[in-house]
Symmetry: C2
């Protein structure tokens, strides 16, 4: 039985802003992602979205202002709230929610589908 | 709008193995705790329990063997599975589940109610 090294799982991803499910608990998916650059403004009407930074820095742009997360910081974007994550350098993060949100409706820009793996 | 610094929240706790809710999302509570020493063997029949270490090292003893978590590592203890967390030195962690488990039924030993804050 072994623990999951979240940052290692993030580094192994081949696309930016693409989530992979590491585990499920109580109806929530614990997902890993790596990000760089900015995605598109969007919202989720069906789920709250929890961001937890493991390595690097993530900025979550909100209409109320920017929230900056460093390693060990968390922030919850409630359902229905428009947001736009961005990162100047590669960031490794955990995202918790009830479903995968790394698709076009989740703000994922076209470039991120091909840019990963570098 | 500000992110939550989980380790800072853990440091501010006055009792070991006592959880404080930092936020709620999709029916799950995102809780912070700090631990040292060992709690008691126990299980939760009503919820899966997610452990995510923010700072330090946590060992989760299972009947199948020990799982060691360093910062950035996660592990899910499924409902009904007996476990016994321990830490040789102070560890800061996030625990995700549907309710507070830092009580006697959650394995919290009597000493931890008074030992915190040091």
């Amino acid at each position: 039985v072994e623990a999951i090294d979240i940052s290692e799982e993030a580094a192994a991803l081949t696309e930016f802003w693409s989530q992979r499910v590491l585990g499920e608990a109580n109806g929530s998916l614990f997902k890993v992602a790596k990000g760089i650059g900015s995605i598109n403004w969007h919202k989720h009407d069906d789920q709250d979205e929890v961001f937890l930074v493991i390595e690097g820095r993530l900025t979550i742009q909100l209409h109320d202002g920017d929230v900056t997360l460093d390693a060990g910081d968390m922030f919850i974007v409630p359902r229905g709230v428009e947001h736009c994550p961005k990162a100047d350098a590669e960031v490794h993060l955990m995202v918790v929610g009830t479903a995968i949100t790394s698709n076009e409706a989740g703000g994922k820009p076209a470039w991120s589908y091909t840019r990963g793996g570098k």
